[in-house]
């Protein structure tokens, strides 16, 4: 699964202004509405419901909020660099500054899991994170995120 198939070019937020987890999720839902046409309130509720099961902050400053929306017909990703790291109740208690939102249609099953695994593998790559933290140009970020797999990670 390639990131380029999930992430539309306008799905990159180069510097998100938020002071809390909730506010960050709202901002992401707002952008997601612009891309998917699903009302931002609905998206926000799904994300919040998922966070209630356990934080999607996976440590090292990274969060991958996700959820399933019956209204969608394909997987959508949105990436955001947070300007000032925010508290996200992460596993390692460290604040978060890189967020990848993933929305899946109902019944995406295995594709949903594969996409989540792909995104998490991408963001666990420390050199990738260092590059993402190092630029606030949306085009550069998009290019980094959608680089073909082989060029930065042999696995």
């Amino acid at each position: 699964m390639e990131i380029a198939s999930l992430l539309p070019p306008d799905g990159v937020i180069a510097s998100l202004r938020a002071t809390s987890k909730k506010q960050a999720l709202q901002e992401l839902a707002h952008r997601a509405e612009a891309i998917t046409g699903v009302p931002e309130r609905k998206i926000f509720d799904v994300l919040l419901e998922r966070e209630r099961l356990g934080s999607t902050g996976i440590g090292l400053g990274i969060a991958i909020p996700h959820g399933k929306m019956p209204e969608l017909d394909q997987l959508y990703g949105i990436f955001a660099r947070v300007e000032h790291p925010i508290d996200f109740d992460s596993v390692d208690d460290q604040p978060v500054d890189l967020i990848f939102l993933l929305l899946a249609p109902e019944g995406a099953g295995a594709d949903h899991l594969k996409a989540l695994a792909r995104v998490s593998r991408l963001l666990r790559d420390k050199s990738m994170c260092a590059k993402l933290r190092g630029t606030n140009n949306p085009d550069a970020l998009y290019a980094l995120l959608t680089e073909p797999l082989a060029s930065h990670n042999a696995a």
Binding site: A110, H112, R124
Partner: protein, 568 residues
């Protein structure tokens, strides 16, 4: 070995007496170091299974191997037992090394059991060997039930005496170190000589000096004392030196040309020990403790032999028994086989059995200032490593424990207070004041990122996402389309996993559900507090059956309920 009488070195070293004495001292140093590293929590976790393995397990292994040896080498039963006893104990140093520096981070309980077992079972093997030698020397006519009370008494003296000397000696050593005001460099030497005194005194009164010196190490390692770091580092280096010295010397003792006639039966004996005797002993000894089958398999496989059996092989030579050289040579071949076969496969086995935990980050370079023990704080400077998790953070943004204080950041020779320090970069010095027990966590924070395992996974070993144990299984099933029977979906994750995981549950246990695995991350007694989900788990064919089993259990429950109702 090459340097020995048959090799190019041509050194003719066959003074078994000197070898024995030096070997004993080297072993004492290694055991003391092992003790220093054995944390109290390790003992709490594993003392009973380890104790059983170190006593009953050693006897079982010795008896089984001994019987086999008697058959293979056409020895008498007693002589067979002697061979069995010589190779019965697992090697503390080899186990500590392969599990520690070898890089694999094992599930805690398995690691603790192996470490404690290997520390405690040497005295048992020493005792069995000495007893066998004494019995053979006395000859068959004197071997009667009359000798039994004496033997039991000697055994109790070994164990109880060793324990008392170890604990008392350890406590005395702690007091001595804290009471004396010496130059820092002298503390490790004080600790070492203290340990050797404990060893010597215990040995001379017929108690087990090996047990005593191990316990003294445990006591010292778990008490607050001066110069902790210097002592640890010195001991670490010395333990290595002892190891190398011990193997070098024992290699010199072996005459390779003498090995040739016994090498095939010795290999057969090694195979029997690895494949039959050790697994059987482990299965029997761990039965009461609810290990799961993967843990038992691993414990059974990793019975590494090391220098101890070779060292014990010198005992019959010194006693002047007939065929004494043969014992020594058999032990040598068995140990070499075990080290090569098991040593090479430890890490592989741990990963294949899914017992490996996420690899720990490699520690940062750290410079310590030894404050007096009463201060209860250490002052250390960490060098931020290039791939550390701390790179790119403002010191003020990092979430640290309340008792951890960043005092200053030094970059390019300029010191800044944390409030106006720049984002951390590789090579920065971070000066921290914190209690000693926090230093490990800080090592990890400022250290390099963990190495990845061969398949490129790292922290993901514990799963991508984390859930509380009280989360409903159904919520997870809906979110990730997991194939879980509807009635089971009403259970909490904690109850669901406890129903379907066999044996006693420990952090790292996994349940396969279709394409993903659920992993126990943290527990409090019986209750599972945290569960991870791994989205791309390693394929391990034996685990594939889990979903089928869950459904089978489910239908069995339904069927049982129907039958029950009909009968009423």
């Amino acid at each position: 070995m090459l340097a020995g009488e048959d090799g190019p070195g041509g050194l003719d070293f066959d003074n078994f007496q000197i070898a024995y004495t030096l070997g004993a001292i080297a072993l004492a140093v290694v055991l003391f170091d092992g003790g220093l590293r054995t944390h109290r929590s390790t003992l709490a976790l594993a003392s009973w299974p380890a104790l059983l393995l170190a006593t009953v397990g050693v006897v079982l292994t010795a008896a089984l191997t001994g019987a086999m040896a008697a058959l293979l080498f056409s020895l008498s039963w007693l002589e067979g037992m002697l061979v069995g006893s010589i190779v019965a104990s697992t090697d503390a140093a080899a186990v500590f090394f392969l599990l520690g520096a070898g890089g694999t981070n094992l599930v805690k309980r398995v690691r603790a059991t192996l470490e404690t077992e290997s520390g405690v079972n040497d005295p048992m093997a020493v005792f069995l060997t000495v007893t066998c030698v004494a019995l053979i020397e006395a000859g068959p006519p004197n071997f009667s039930t009359n000798a039994l009370p004496g033997l039991v008494g000697a055994f109790l003296m070994q164990i109880a005496g060793g324990a008392v000397f170890g604990v008392v000696g350890g406590l005395a050593l702690v007091r001595l170190i804290n009471a004396l005001n010496l130059a820092t460099g002298l503390y490790p030497i004080l600790a070492l000589s203290g340990a050797l005194v404990v060893f010597g005194v215990a040995q001379s009164v017929g108690a087990s000096g090996f047990l005593a010196v191990y316990l003294a190490g445990v006591v010292l390692g778990n008490r607050r004392h001066r110069a902790t770091l210097v002592i640890d580092r010195f001991q670490d280096g010395l333990a290595w030196l002892s190891q190398i010295g011990m193997f070098l010397m024992l290699g010199l003792l072996v005459t390779p040309t003498n090995l040739i006639p016994t090498v095939l039966p010795s290999l057969a004996l090694a195979a029997f020990l690895i494949l039959v005797a050790r697994p059987v002993a482990v299965l029997l000894c761990t039965a009461p403790f609810g290990f799961n089958w993967r843990e038992k398999t691993f414990l059974g496989w990793v019975g590494l032999r090391g220098a101890v059996p070779i060292f014990l092989g010198t005992v019959p030579v010194l006693a002047g028994l007939p065929n004494a050289d043969a014992y020594f040579e058999i032990a040598f071949v068995v140990v070499l086989t075990s080290l090569v076969v098991q040593g090479w496969t430890v890490n592989l086995a741990a990963r294949q059995l899914n017992l490996a935990l996420p690899p720990a980050p490699r520690p940062a370079q750290r410079f310590d200032v030894d404050l007096p023990a009463e201060a209860e704080r250490d002052l250390s400077a960490f060098v931020v490593q290039e791939t550390s998790a701390a790179v790119g953070w403002l010191p003020g943004d990092m979430r640290l424990e309340d008792d951890v204080e960043i005092v200053a950041v030094i970059r390019d020779g300029v010191m800044r207070l944390p409030s106006d320090a720049p984002r951390l970069a590789a090579g920065d010095y971070v000066v921290v004041v914190a209690p000693a027990e926090r230093m490990g966590a800080l090592d990890r924070l400022f250290g390099s990122a963990p190495r990845k395992d061969p398949s490129g996974r790292d922290e993901a070993v514990f799963g991508e996402f984390t859930f509380g144990g009280e989360t409903l299984t159904g919520d997870l099933a809906r979110m990730y389309d997991l194939p879980i029977p509807p009635p089971e979906q009403a259970l909490t994750l904690s109850d669901f996993l406890r129903r379907h995981l066999r044996g006693r549950i420990d952090a790292g246990d996994r349940l396969k559900l279709g394409d993903v695995e659920l992993i126990v991350r943290a527990l409090d007694g019986e209750t599972i507090l945290q569960v991870g989900i791994e989205l791309e788990p390693r394929r391990f064919p034996l685990l594939q059956a889990d979903v089928a089993r869950i459904w089978a259990h489910h239908w069995w429950r339904v069927l049982r309920n129907r039958l029950w109702r009909r009968r009423e």
